[in-house]
Every structure is written in C-alpha cells, then in structure tokens.
C-alpha cells in the first residue's frame, strides 16, 4: 500500500509535523503536543465535504472565517495564522478548500478520546445536540453511536454471535466484561439505555467500571468496521483513527484490543492510533522484529497470548507481509511551544536518539525509577 503524507506547519503549537502514514501508524508524545489536532486534520483533509454537510445539517454555517472553530472546537480559530500550511500528499488544504475535500461520504472513521463522555446516562447524543465547543470528530462519533443504538435489530451488544471472531469475543470477555452481557434495555421510565447484566443484576452505564465505559464505545465503533458475513470492510471507509485506545484499560484489555486493530489492518483499513501506552509500542517493536526475522505467523498469535488458529492465520500473515507498512512517530517540543514530529518507526532500544530508544518518552519516566534502584544497589555494594 502506498503511504499518505500529511504535513502540518505552524498550526497552533505544531511547528512542523510531517507524517508518512502507513497501514498501521502510531503517534506518541506528551500531553498537549498536538497528536489529536494532527489527526483531526487528516479527517478534515479527507472528509471536509462530509464535515461541512454535517455542520450545515445541524444549522451551522461554515465559512472560511469560522471553519477552524467549527472543526476543532470554538476558540481554535487563532490556531490558523498567515504562516499555516497543511497539505495531504503535497496538495494544499486551506480553510477555503476544506468544504471540497472528499465526496461527501465518510472515509475516515474517527474514534475520539472523548468517547465515554459522549455516552450520557447510557445513551449517545445526536450531532446537533452537542455544542460547537466539542471538536467535530467527537460530535460525529456521537452521532455514529446514536445511529448504532437506534438501529439495533437486536438489543444484545456483547456478546453477539457472528459479529466478532470467537477468539476476539473470548479475549474481550476475559479482559473486560467477565461473563457480563451488554445490551440496550428499557429503564423504569421506558427509555432504552445501556445495561450490563450479571445474572439478576442489571447495571446502568454510570455504575460500570471506567474500563467498561471506555471499552464499550470502542467496541461499538468496531462493530461498524467489522461487518459480519463475508464483507471484509465497510464500503467507502478507508481510514480508522483511534485516540488513546488504552484509556481506563488494564494491559490485558489493551492487548485484546490491539489484536482487533490487526484485524482492521487485515481487512484493508489503514489504522492510526495515538497512545500513551508502552504496551502499544511494545507491539510495534515486536512486529518490526518479527517482520525483519521473517517470523512464522504463529508467533504473532503467541505475542498476543492466543492459540494459533486458521481464523487468525490470515490476520497474522497480513501484518507480517512486507507490503504492510508500520510507522511510529513522536510529536515533541523542540523548543517551548514549538512541536515537531519525528519518525521513530524502528523503535531500536539501542538507538542513539533518546526519542527512539526511549520510545518517544514513554519509558523515560519508569527508567528514572530503575536508575534509582540501580544506584542504591551499586552504592550499597561499594560500602560493603
């Protein structure tokens, strides 16, 4: 698959982010380095027309002057200055041209970091009910959830037969729901609401664990992207952006989710993740080494702690194939208030550059603890 180059210069605090997006791309970086802004630009550059139509449908009137506020959230307009340049594959994306980007349909499915907060009292809000303070990608995802909730022919959301591979259902059950059943049920006021059922107890959304509340909108998003039967992917959707999939999740659940990410790649989606989780980069590092070593596909299964099976074979083989490109970038402050993106795809633990060997800063802070332990051991030995 050919790569896609997104370049953002002088937008908000992003001085220069040049991102060559592969089949699976991971963005890391400290809080506030602009990872989400960069990916919202990907959405705007590919689906500008769809965004503008959604805004118009909600009664908003996007213009060259207010489009940045409407896409990124009110207050973001000053982020665009005379020096701002955004391009996709070398073609400029301007405030004026956003409304002409794409064919009006959704080609980027964006699962934002706000996902759990979009489900209020067990139900998702429609696009127009969410204020323009909220980035448009979150409003659109909420609308997607609303549609999913409204259109369900069955009230069962998890587990659901023939919706996910059995191995995925088991992993999710073991890691997140522990034999609980997620569904939509009428409450005492006769409103349909999300419920988690364990035997006789039916728990409303706000009583769920943080991880269950975070995972459910992720899962529902995946239902949309992993159609049952023999359709590999949703027609028209080429990109899946998932922000911080690890939010609220134990590493066991993160690992289960990452296997689903590989499934998305196998189906032909191009996936972009942002993360603060070393688990995600450990996976990217392991995949890099397995590919270099031309490892057998069973080792991918072993990396995820699952038994090799014919169901997983094509998924594992797809991620090991040389045509599948894996990329990792760190967005970091080169000077105060000036963020640059750096390619750290090799994730070499012995790299000269600390950004690469320290995996974009994700390991530096735990290293400080281990350094303190090491110093204590050495000092006690010298004193013996």
């Amino acid at each position: 698959m050919s790569s896609t180059r997104l370049r953002i210069q002088n937008f908000a605090h992003i001085a220069d982010a040049s991102l060559e997006l592969g089949d699976l791309t991971v963005l890391v970086g400290a809080q506030g380095t602009g990872k989400s802004l960069a990916l919202q630009w990907l959405k705007a550059a590919l689906d500008g027309k769809q965004i503008v139509r959604a805004l118009q449908g909600a009664g908003q009137q996007p213009t060259e002057k207010n489009i940045i506020d409407l896409i990124f959230g009110v207050g973001m307009n000053p982020a665009w200055t005379d020096q701002t340049e955004v391009s996709l594959n070398g073609k400029a994306v301007t405030r004026k041209s956003i409304s002409r980007r794409g064919d009006g349909n959704e080609s980027v499915f964006f699962i934002p970091a706000h996902r759990a907060s979009l489900i209020s009292d067990g139900w998702a809000a429609q696009f127009q009910r969410i204020s323009t303070d909220t980035p448009v990608v979150a409003r659109m995802f909420s609308q997607n959830l609303f549609d999913l909730f409204s259109d369900r022919t069955s009230s069962a959301l998890f587990p659901r037969e023939r919706t996910l591979k059995e191995v995925y259902r088991k992993l999710i059950d073991d890691a997140v729901f522990h034999h609980g059943e997620v569904g939509l049920e009428e409450d005492q006021q006769h409103n349909k609401r999300l419920r988690l059922t364990h035997g006789e107890s039916k728990l409303p959304f706000m009583t769920w664990t943080a991880g269950q509340r975070e995972f459910t909108p992720l899962l529902l998003g995946l239902y949309h992207l992993l159609p049952s039967r023999k359709i590999p992917k949703q027609k028209g959707i080429d990109w899946v952006v998932i922000e911080e999939p690890e939010m609220g999740l134990h590493p066991q659940a993160v690992t289960a989710f990452l296997l689903l990410v590989l499934d998305l790649v196998w189906r032909g989606y191009r996936v972009v993740l942002t993360t603060h989780s070393p688990v995600v980069l450990t996976m990217m590092w392991a995949l890099r080494v397995l590919r270099e070593r031309k490892a057998r596909w069973q080792l991918v299964c072993s990396a995820f702690g699952v038994s090799p099976s014919q169901q997983l074979k094509p998924v594992a083989e797809a991620i090991l194939a040389s045509r599948c490109s894996l990329r990792t970038y760190v967005m970091e402050f080169a000077q105060p208030g000036r963020v640059h993106a750096k390619d750290i795809s090799h994730l070499d633990p012995a790299a000269e550059d600390d950004a690469e060997s320290g995996w974009g800063g994700l390991t530096a802070f735990t290293s400080n603890f281990t350094n303190a332990v090491r110093a204590a051991v050495s000092e006690s030995e010298v004193g013996e």
Binding site: A350, S357, W359, T363, T366, V373, S378, E381, V382
Partner: protein, 150 residues
C-alpha cells in the same frame, strides 16, 4: 595513582592493570565510544586474570578506570538476549566474590555496564530492565557512551 590501582591492594591482580584501554581485546574496543576513550586511564581484563583461579566460574570481562570521575566501572560485552540476563547477573555476582580479596577497604566498582555484542533482542521496557537494575547492572546497547557515565 590511576583509578583501578587506587582501589586494588598491591598484589598479583594489581600487576595486571594496563594503561588506557590496552587491556581490552581489539574486538571489544569498538564497544567504547571514541569520544570517551581518553578518559579511561587504566583497564583490567578480569576474565583473563581470574581464568586460572576460577576456571569453572562465571567471569566478568573488564574493569575500566574513569579518570574524569575517579571511579572504576565494569564492562561486559555480551550477547543481548533475554535468556542471557541470568548469566550476566551471575557474572557480576561472581566478579564481586572474585574481586573482594583484592579490594582495599571501602572501595568498589562504581557502575556495571553490559554492552551488546550483537543485535539487541529485548526492549527496554521489558522486565529485563528491572531485573538488571535490582542487580546494579546497566544495559547500554552496543556502545558505552558519555551519557552512561553521568
């Protein structure tokens, strides 16, 4: 007095200390960054030094006398695989035993560095990092650099 000589009692081991990096085998010198080679005033090949007396034991490779910090560090070029961690830890433990009779009171090795003699095959977030830290060993990748000596 050079750093290694300053921590050793006068004896057979002290006599095997060599100037600069000359105790390192030529194939191992590449594991020390060019820019810091001058700061080592003396070196000792303890693997060879203890070969006769501890032939069956695990043995650490080198001691390096860092003139800039007036400390002695230990260097072990060794293959960087997860299943070699236990061996490197044993080597250090044995080196402490082997060196003890030769050390002046209150003196010791300041830092223990494992350099990769081949491709690195474990990540730095692995439990390897914590195991090594608990044994006072720093894995530095293929080359010992200035930043490691801070």
């Amino acid at each position: 007095m050079t750093p290694i000589r300053s921590i050793l009692t006068t004896g057979t081991l002290s006599q095997q200390v060599k100037p600069g990096l000359s105790a390192l085998k030529s194939t191992d010198k590449k594991h020390v960054e060019d820019a810091i080679r001058q700061r080592f005033a003396d070196t000792l090949d303890i693997d060879t030094a203890f070969l006769q007396t501890h032939a069956a034991d695990n043995r650490w490779d080198y001691l390096l006398g860092d003139e800039e910090s007036s400390t002695v560090v230990a260097l072990e070029p060794h293959s960087a695989k997860s299943d070699e961690v236990s061996t490197v830890i044993k080597k250090k433990q044995k080196a402490l035993e082997q060196l003890r009779p030769h050390l002046k009171a209150g003196k010791g090795i300041h830092r223990w560095f494992w350099v990769a003699s081949g491709t690195v095959q474990f990540p730095n977030v692995d439990k390897v990092e914590k195991r090594l830290a608990e044994h006072g060993i720093t894995f530095v990748g293929p080359i010992l650099k200035k930043k490691h000596l801070r």
